[in-house]
């Protein structure tokens, strides 16, 4: 079973192969494309299960399972570039989640995209994305992780801009790519610095990897700018990448616009998997974020972490601010997907907060549960959109509770999980973990307060959304106004009532809903399985109440928060009409600001874009006049040389040659004068010759 780590490469390779084959298929072959994609994901899921099982059996006393398979990828002169696969509980958990949720979303897409003519291309891109994401998860090598990170970004770009003929979609894709790129700058700097300091790109390499004791200790005790230790600085740089990819404030602006892509894309990439990659990254490199390093002896963990300073501090604050910021904006949005998008941003903030205050287990657990219920919510929204003939404004929906019952039921499950309804919904437990960890965080209690407020807001806006979509009376729903800005290729007739989606779409919804509920079993304080799983001490698991008073207090407080949010929202909205928003009528200015997304995009446009444009103009001028002049000067020199060469050739060589020829001709002409055809002239010459000869002979005779 442990040998599975050598075959981990199969997991991303299968979808990659599927993507390659789909890319070579001709257009109309929908069934093979979908079958390839779904089949490869299902196979990957199976392999991931095998890997998961392998991690369930840690060797006694050695902590979590951590299997690596490193090999030399190619040789670089004397050294080789080594690549590796890593299998530990973190990886295995994520693999199972991604492949499972991915498979369900793929199946859902066959129904959702059935009317689209670019069906095959869609599945090709989806498979590519899956391959990249899975590669990211199994990477034991910084460079490989970065490559997959970028590949995932590319796939996201391709999928957001899937309907590229829409300018808004193309712009959104570009925005996503560029915004994440900004974060990736810091990420790359961190990678380079880490490689430079540690000399290796591998995470775990039998003691020589860059996340292992030797390197981390060395980096921890090295100081850099501002008294920061190098390991903290590197973690902060890597966090920049996470900020971009996971949509933390201030780089969150791309996520809501990414809703231009088809809904399955939003579900897969921008809810469950890609955006979680940032959190995953921070969990992966958490050894670097250690703020206290004390060797614990031969056995057990190499060092201990205390989460109250350094990089975790920054991460926690960023997460808390993001959570509240996005939740506020979500209150005032009217597009069903945008509400969910801001909700995702907010929940990502929760994940980062959990990671910062409580460690990887807290953050990752919320990530896992969020993946399920957010995917569920997005797919449900997709079902709603599909059934409402691609209507996305919630003010124009209503009463879908009766018209789309299965969708309504599953959506309700997801909403309750997100809001944090107690006990049977996994969201409650995971959010509770975060709140608990925030409450006992020593530096400050403010993040806890913010997180609690965010919980109130979450339940508020989700209830608002539920009411508008499912409960509100369908007064204007019969309007034949097609969707204003999305999916405009839809050719359905107007004045149709919304209808339930086909089974291929509702079955995945049901499965996800079931999983959401089931997951709740895994993290109750009664049975803290996930913690134990990550920590590798599953055998020390005991069933029973082991929570303390702080945990109890947290639970009570979160329940109250949920109740408050739901109650206030229900009261406000169920009693007012759909034409004017309940909150909007009471706090018009605030509502306007929130509806305008707190004007972050406008702020960026006024500052960053302008600066960029100015720098671009400056560069253009520089290039045109400075480098251009240099180039012209070189050209001029070349021309001068050419001129000199030509003159030498023409004047010197040709002239010389011509002169030589002329001289020869002149000499010949002169010589030809002797031959004048006059016999007597010849005779005279003869006579002269005779005289000369005689004289010569006589002289010689005399001497």
């Amino acid at each position: 079973m442990k040998g599975i780590v050598n075959q981990l490469w199969l997991i991303p390779a299968l979808p990659l192969l599927a993507a390659g084959i789909i890319a070579l298929l001709k257009r109309p072959q929908r069934k093979p494309a979908a079958a390839l994609a779904i089949g490869s994901m299902a196979l990957a899921f199976l392999v991931s299960c095998v890997a998961f099982v392998a991690t369930l059996q840690p060797e006694a006393g050695k902590g979590a399972v951590q299997l690596t398979h490193n090999f030399a990828w190619f040789d670089l002169g004397g050294s080789a570039l080594r690549l590796g696969w890593l299998l530990d509980p973190l990886t295995a958990g994520m693999l199972v989640m991604v492949t499972f949720v991915g498979s369900l979303i793929f199946i859902f897409s066959t129904g959702y995209m059935a009317d689209d003519e670019n069906f095959t291309r869609f599945f090709g891109f989806l498979a590519l994305f899956a391959a990249a994401m899975l590669g990211l998860l199994i990477a034991n090598n910084l460079l490989f992780l970065f490559m997959c990170w970028e590949l995932v970004g590319v796939a996201s770009y391709l999928l957001i801009g899937f309907w590229f003929h829409k300018p808004s979609a193309a712009a959104a894709a570009k925005k996503a790519f560029i915004t994440t790129r900004i974060g990736d700058l810091g990420f790359f700097l961190g990678i380079v610095w880490l490689y430079h300091e540690s000399g290796t790109l591998l995470f775990y390499d039998e003691g020589a990897g860059c996340l292992e004791q030797t390197v981390v200790t060395k980096l921890f005790w090295q100081a850099t700018v501002g008294g920061l230790s190098v390991s903290t600085a590197i973690s902060l740089l890597l966090f920049c990448g996470a900020v971009g990819k996971s949509g933390q404030v201030p780089l969150h602006v791309w996520l809501p616009d990414a809703m231009e892509g088809p809904t399955p894309v939003s579900a897969l990439i921008h809810a469950a998997t890609m955006v979680a990659a940032g959190v995953f990254l921070m969990a992966r490199v958490h050894p670097l974020m250690a703020t206290v390093v004390t060797p614990l002896g031969e056995a057990g963990s190499a060092f201990e972490f205390v989460w109250d300073g350094g990089a975790p501090f920054v991460i926690a604050w960023v997460g808390a601010i993001t959570a509240v910021f996005a939740a506020l904006i979500a209150v005032a949005q009217n597009d069903i997907k945008r509400i969910l998008a801001y909700s995702t941003v907010s929940q990502l903030g929760y994940m980062m907060l959990g990671l910062g205050v409580g460690g990887p287990a807290v953050g990752m657990f919320h990530l896992l549960t969020h993946a399920f219920f957010k995917a569920l919510l997005f797919l449900g929204a997709g079902s709603v959109i599909h059934g409402s003939h691609h209507e996305q404004d919630i003010r124009r929906m209503g009463g879908l509770r009766k018209l789309m019952p299965v969708t309504f039921a599953t959506y309700a499950v997801g909403m309750m999980a997100l809001a944090g309804f107690p006990l049977v919904f996994s969201g409650f437990w995971s959010k509770d973990e975060v709140l608990h960890a925030a409450m006992i965080w020593s530096p400050s209690k403010l993040p806890f307060a913010l997180a609690l407020f965010g919980a109130v807001l979450t339940s508020f806006y989700m209830t608002r959304q539920m009411w508008y979509v499912f409960f509100a009376p369908r007064a204007e729903a019969a309007h034949a106004e097609p969707a204003a800005h999305h999916d405009d290729h839809h050719a359905h007739g107007h004045a149709h009532e919304p209808y339930e989606s086909p089974r291929v779409m509702t079955v995945p919804l049901a499965i996800l809903a079931g999983a959401t509920v089931l997951l709740s079993l895994f993290a109750t304080p009664v049975w803290p399985w996930f913690h134990a799983y990550l920590g590798g001490h599953l055998d020390h698991l005991h069933v029973g109440w082991s929570a303390d008073s702080a945990a109890l207090l947290t639970m009570v407080l979160s329940v109250i928060a949920v109740a408050v949010g739901v109650g206030v929202s229900w009261r406000l909205y169920s009693r007012s009409s759909t034409s004017v928003d309940a909150v909007g009528s009471r706090f018009p200015k605030l509502f306007k600001a929130l509806e305008g997304r707190l004007f972050v995009d406008e702020f960026y446009a006024a500052t960053v874009f302008r600066l960029n444009a100015a720098v671009a103009t400056l560069s253009d001028w520089f290039d045109r006049f400075v480098w251009g002049s240099v180039v012209e000067l070189t050209a001029l020199v070349a021309k001068a040389l050419a001129f000199v060469s030509r003159s030498v050739d023409e004047q010197g060589i040709n002239f010389g040659f011509d002169a030589g020829c002329q001289t020869t001709r002149g000499a010949g002409w002169l010589a030809s004068k002797l031959q004048n055809g006059q016999t007597q002239c010849y005779l005279r010459i003869l006579g002269t010759g005779v005289v000369v000869l005689i004289v010569a002979l006589a002289w010689m005779g005399k001497n």
């Binding site: 030809s672 031959q675 004048n676 055809g677 006059q678 016999t679 007597q680 005779l683 005279r684 006579g687």
Partner: protein, 103 residues
């Protein structure tokens, strides 16, 4: 001054005159006449040396002169025939007009 000297000088003088005529006169016939004079001067030379030189019994000088006269006659005949033929072609017996070898 021997009589030989005298004959030799006369011969030289005749030769020079013939040469001058051959070089100077434009008419082809006169050039031939000049050539004949030169030949005759040579004959005189031979006979002078036969008479006053050693071994006149061998009659070498006379024999030579006889043959020289014969050859000169043949040459004069052919030459004059040529002049006539050229005259027919060029319509002129002027030496300077026959200059097709000019070049």
């Amino acid at each position: 001054m021997n009589p030989l000297h005298g004959y030799l000088l006369v011969s030289a003088l005749l030769f020079a005159v013939g040469l001058a005529g051959a070089l100077v006169r434009r008419n082809a016939i006169l050039v031939l006449v000049g050539v004949e004079l030169m030949l005759n001067a040579a004959n005189l030379n031979f006979l002078a040396f036969w008479r006053y030189g050693p071994n006149p019994e061998a009659l070498t000088g006379v024999m030579f002169v006889i043959f020289a006269i014969g050859v000169a006659a043949a040459e004069a005949a052919v030459g004059l025939a040529l002049v006539i033929a050229i005259y027919r072609h060029y319509r002129s017996s002027n030496v300077e007009d026959v200059a097709t070898m000019k070049g």
